[in-house]
């Protein structure tokens, strides 16, 4: 067992899992979406990005690209939420829908990342 592979797989999967957990539920309902979960998803996604640095293969490059997409989407979601939360009206359902749809985009990127990881494992087994 390779500890580097364990850590790598752990963070990739965790990023996708947290992202999914935040995204699931009605889009415009604030009570279905936890701000802490979003923050955790951002942090784990950032760590996953750093772990992908410095891999020279084609697969490694695509890995890094998907992670960067997830980071951009999640940070954009966090900025929108912070903006809405500090405004006098608070977070409205339409703003909440924007945040959740952005996290849905990040989820897509994270799923691609997981798919890449699995495909890598399968080709390695062969």
């Amino acid at each position: 067992m390779n500890s580097e592979k364990v850590i790598f797989g752990f963070f990739i999967t965790l990023a996708a899992a947290l992202n999914f957990g935040f995204w699931t539920g009605d889009m415009d309902k604030i009570e279905f979406h936890n701000v802490w979960e979003l923050a955790a998803a951002i942090v784990v996604s950032l760590i996953a990005t750093v772990l992908k640095f410095g891999d020279r293969t084609q697969l490694g490059a695509v890995h890094l690209a998907t992670s960067l997409v997830a980071d951009v989407q999640l940070i954009a979601a966090a900025i929108v939420w912070s903006w809405a939360a500090t405004s006098p009206a608070g977070v409205t359902p339409s703003e909440m829908a924007t945040v959740v749809s952005m996290s849905a985009g990040a989820l897509l990127a994270n799923l691609v990342s997981v798919a890449l990881m699995i495909s890598e494992i399968i080709t390695a087994r062969r």
Partner: protein, 572 residues
């Protein structure tokens, strides 16, 4: 992305993950620790956004104070933890970056990246010089004076440092690498379409041979010159082919024999291979008769053989090789006893050919003392000793490194010269003297420039076009001053090479054909003029007819119609 970026990213993984973790713990903690309002009532935590704001300015040690409200005790306690954690995290990351920048491996990668970029961006003809000892440095200076770019490869870092301190017009890319490894030669730009030749001047023969073979296999047809000291390697065919391998000892002794036996031809050869703009070589007339040779190494063997062939008697003095066949007197030659024993009274010349400069000077001094009118030939090994040799006033001083450097430069920049020298190998002394005289006038008393031109659309577009239009272009046209038709240009066509044939010193009426290769000698000014008239149709028209021709295509068209009409009339 290049090597350096990858190396940097890979090494920064751990510090960056650490910084992210430290921030996460600090921000999440500060967001939930309960606060206090102005009245002293407990409030919930400040939330993620505010916490991230506070940690951002705290972690970077900006420190705006307690925002948005004055903190409660637990919040302050958490801030203490956060401050130390974030500062430690950042410091570690910065220290890693600094350490990485100072690491020799990383700096090496940076240097190599810069070097590779410079080679890629070399968009003009360049040569690869492998090995920059004394000869290599001379070759570099020669190339620099000819306005050529070059790349320097040497496995010795000290030599590379020295070459960086030499003053060149254009800074050459340099690398510390073993040029006998194919990868390093490719890295130096061997596969680049702008690479014009490789010169193998490394210290050992094996490396030079490896360089020659690599270049031969990877870039067939590219001129390669290799210096090989092994007496059996010069002019060998096989993997090297042709005249690519120069044995400095054999060349040197051949030249010495030539200088003694055929001084005019030796002088002609020196003018042809000399650096353009240098003073012309002096005339020497070494006597024939009994010679004394001091030192019987590889060089001594060659000199003895060459002098004997030229009809001289040779007495050899050596201590180390005494007892071998050919050594007549045991001794060093630095004492009068051994010189007398070798018969200095009736000797006409002496060759001091040891590998040590001081020993050679000592021999020369003793010989002069015993017989003031003896012809002294010294071998100078180190350029730094030039002042000593100049002070002695020897009759002839030969520097192996200079001979090899000139030979390399002349042959690799003007491949036609080798053929020319082959063609004139049997020329008489009188012919050589006359040609030397003609060459010495070309560049106002200095060594003339020597260059080759191929009559093709790339190098002589106007000439090709004129020949295709059935005009006569002959040698005389090329040697006409394009600014004044009545003046000849300061140049001389030494040879026209056409397939296997051609002509040596063609007359002015010699007619050119497409595909001819010309070897021309002349002043730098003449070189520019000839290049102009070979590529500019109007200038060529002027030197051919002495009349200014119209420039536009409509005039050309009109003249072409007129010519056709005249031809048509003359046929019927």
């Amino acid at each position: 992305m290049n090597n350096v970026t990858y190396l940097f990213l890979r090494r920064m993984r751990v510090p960056l993950v650490l910084v992210i973790s430290v921030y996460t713990i600090s921000v999440f903690g500060l967001a939930v620790v309960p606060g206090v309002d102005d009245a002293g009532n407990p409030t919930p935590g400040m939330g993620l956004f505010n916490a991230f704001y506070v940690i951002s300015y705290t972690g970077t040690t900006i420190g705006f104070g307690e925002l948005p409200n004055p903190y409660s005790g637990p919040q302050r306690m958490w801030m203490i933890v956060a401050i130390y954690m974030t500062v430690a995290g950042w410091s570690y990351a910065v220290a890693t970056v600094v350490g990485l920048l100072q690491e020799p491996a990383f700096q090496n990668a940076l240097r190599r990246g810069r070097y590779a970029r410079r080679i890629r961006r070399l968009r003009e003809p360049f040569y690869i010089v492998c090995g920059v000892g004394e000869t290599g440095t001379l070759v570099c200076h020669g190339l620099d004076r000819l306005g050529m770019r070059f790349v320097v490869v040497d496995s010795d870092a000290v030599r590379i440092d020295q070459i960086k301190l030499e003053e060149f017009h254009a800074d050459p890319p340099t690398v510390v690498a073993d040029a006998s490894q194919p990868a390093n030669l490719i890295g130096a730009g061997l596969m680049s379409p702008h690479c014009r030749g490789v010169m193998a001047l490394a210290a050992d023969d094996i490396a030079n041979r490896a360089i020659a073979v690599t270049a031969r296999l990877l870039r067939p047809g590219l001129p390669v010159m290799a210096r090989v000291g092994d007496p059996h390697t010069d002019h060998t065919m096989g993997a090297f082919g042709g005249d690519m391998v120069i044995n400095p000892f054999e060349r040197f002794s051949t030249y010495l024999a030539l200088a003694v036996a055929r001084p005019e031809r030796y002088r002609l050869g020196q003018i042809l291979t000399g650096f353009p703009g240098d003073d012309l070589p002096e005339r020497h007339h070494p006597p024939r008769g009994h010679w004394i040779m001091c030192g019987y190494g590889r060089f001594g063997h060659g000199v003895r053989e060459a002098l004997t062939k030229a009809g001289n008697q040779v007495t050899v003095i050596d201590r180390l090789h005494y007892g071998e066949e050919g050594v007549d007197v045991e001794g060093t030659g630095t004492d009068s006893a051994s010189l007398k024993k070798a018969g200095i009274e009736d000797a006409v010349g002496i060759v001091a050919g040891n590998a040590s400069d001081l020993k050679n000077l000592a021999i020369a001094l003793v010989a002069r003392d015993l017989k003031p009118d003896i012809f002294v030939v010294t071998r100078q090994n180190q350029i730094s000793n030039t002042t000593l040799f100049e002070a002695f006033h020897d009759d002839q001083c030969m520097q192996p490194s200079r001979i090899v450097a000139r030979e390399f430069l002349a042959l690799i920049t003007t491949p036609l010269l080798d053929r020319f020298r082959w063609e004139i190998r049997g020329a008489s002394e009188k012919w050589a003297a006359e040609l030397s005289e003609a060459l010495s006038y070309l560049n106002g008393g200095y060594t003339p420039e020597l260059w080759g031109v191929t009559i093709d659309s790339e190098h002589a577009g106007a000439v090709v076009e004129a020949i295709e239009d059935e005009h006569w272009v002959n040698i005389g046209h090329l040697l006409t001053d394009p600014y004044d038709h009545d003046n000849p240009a300061n140049a001389l066509v030494l040879m026209v090479s056409r397939g296997d044939g051609g002509a040596i010193l063609p007359t002015t009426g010699y007619q050119l054909e497409v595909g001819d290769q010309l070897l021309i000698a002349g002043s730098p000014e003449a070189a520019r003029k000839i290049e102009l008239l070979m590529n500019n149709l109007n200038v060529l028209h002027y030197v051919r007819t002495g009349r200014e021709g119209g420039g536009g295509w409509i005039w050309h068209f009109g003249r072409r119609v007129k010519r056709r009409w005249i031809k048509f009339l003359s046929r019927h």
